[in-house]
Symmetry: C2
Subunit: 281 residues, 2 copies
């Protein structure tokens, strides 16, 4: 549970920190960022997990996400993990592609060699990192929300759907809604889990909803000028799954927005406020 501070910067009245620790789940050193807003000395604050997309580390949202003003306003701790194990001996895509291997852990526990050695991002995000954060920061683990972008939106949705009751609030920015039905998903889940698609369903938000998993509510924003919408993200599959299941959800198409942090930062404050409403003590 020991962490090492990489940097701590005062920002928006709180502290934006970056930390690293030896992860038992991945067998590597892992880096993550935490924003702790100003708070009463003995307060325990709700926590919002943000899972990043392909190619990202903790740094992208930490620098460009524009979440601190809203988290300071609402008194929410914001945690941003990395997207894969990294370091010497960690296997990567054979051609170094951006959509598999380093920066592309897809929040799964890999079962296939050579990835099964370190790519245990499901265990890391679901089990280990929450313990590390609970041990080191003033969080109220009874009040957790989760969100993410693209591959991280997929992570947020599937982790929340699989862990019924753990998260009081779940949202996503331009999520991959069904890895079973897109090239990114086929490559990643095939590579990490093998070709038996029965093993993929627990990593597919639409399949989880079809299988009976439910959330109290759901907020999704998706840009309609997003280059990945038609081939990879396929938001309509989530709309249809929610409709079939009677799952309460606000899935909003945002005109003119693309897949970048210029989009995410636009709607970040609104997402934080939406989570805050559901994370009240």
């Amino acid at each position: 549970m020991t962490i090492e501070s990489v940097s701590e910067k005062r920002s928006h009245g709180g502290v934006q920190g970056v930390y690293k620790h030896a992860s038992a789940a991945t067998g590597t050193e892992m880096t993550f960022s935490v924003f702790v807003p100003d708070h009463e000395p003995d307060a325990q604050l709700p926590v919002l997990w943000y899972l990043s997309g392909l190619t990202c580390t903790h740094a992208n949202v930490t620098e460009k996400g524009e979440f601190r003003a809203a988290c300071a306003e609402h008194g929410i701790i914001f945690v941003a993990p990395d997207t894969s194990p990294r370091g010497e001996g960690v296997a990567d895509d054979a051609e170094g592609a951006y959509d598999f291997g380093l920066g592309a852990g897809f929040y799964v526990n890999a079962t296939q060699q050579p990835f099964s050695k370190h790519y245990k991002m499901r265990d890391y995000i679901e089990r280990e990192l929450p313990e590390v954060v609970a041990a080191n920061f003033p969080v109220d683990m009874a009040r957790q929300g989760i969100t993410g972008h693209s591959m991280g939106g997929h992570g947020a949705l599937t982790i929340s759907l699989r862990n019924s009751g753990r998260f009081k609030s779940t949202s996503a920015f331009s999520p991959i809604v069904s890895p079973l039905n897109c090239p990114w998903g086929h490559k990643a889940l095939g590579g990490y889990l093998g070709e038996d698609k029965a093993a993929w369903a627990e990593y597919d938000a639409c399949a989880l909803i079809d299988g009976g998993a439910r959330l109290p509510d759901l907020l999704v924003d998706q840009g309609d000028a997003d280059n990945f919408l038609a081939e990879q993200l396929k938001t309509h599959l989530l709309v249809e799954a929610c409709d079939r299941a009677g799952q309460k959800a606000a899935i909003r198409m945002q005109p003119g927005y693309d897949h970048s942090y210029y989009f995410i930062s636009t709607f970040m404050a609104e997402h934080v406020a939406w989570h805050a409403e559901r994370l009240k003590a």
Copy 2:
């Protein structure tokens, strides 16, 4: 006056663009960013110039400055130029230091070889870029504000002080307040202007105020945990110059903040609102 679009992204209801053009002032291609908030079709909006600090390009504040929400709220166009000429044939510091040459134009017109060929950032920012922006964006040039960070805070202060009446509002984040009295200033002004310090005074905010230049008002934020405060920034010299001159100013020391964008972004919305109040039609 022709510009080429490098990228345009929808963000916070407006458009965050990056553009390049052939600059007559510097004899190079120059890149700058412009955020245009959503507006009525024939509206002319006030413009806020943001001058960046050492090592930066237009990109730093564009990605990390957290200005768009506030500019969208107040209907202000935000322009961020580069900090020096760049490209083949542009002289740099002999040792490639970060505080002179590329990324360190100091907003002066260099008179010394080999820098005098391209380092005409004063002409570029004071004369050419305003014409380019006026010709290509819906700006009301009767309503201009200016701000900047560190070297760019120096730029904002000195440009506004030298051009009485042009800017209705002037602010700065952790500015270099007196190049005559700090190592960064000695190196830069010595290198660009030569050792005759009589030529330096028009690039020194404190000297300009002592010489009679005035602003309608001034807002400065400075972190007290800024590593550069004691040796380079010397905020107290500006406080003293304003006191001597009876110059109206709010110069605020912000406890715990450093020199980074974690500091700038914290106070950006407040600066934009302060400018907006003074840029009303």
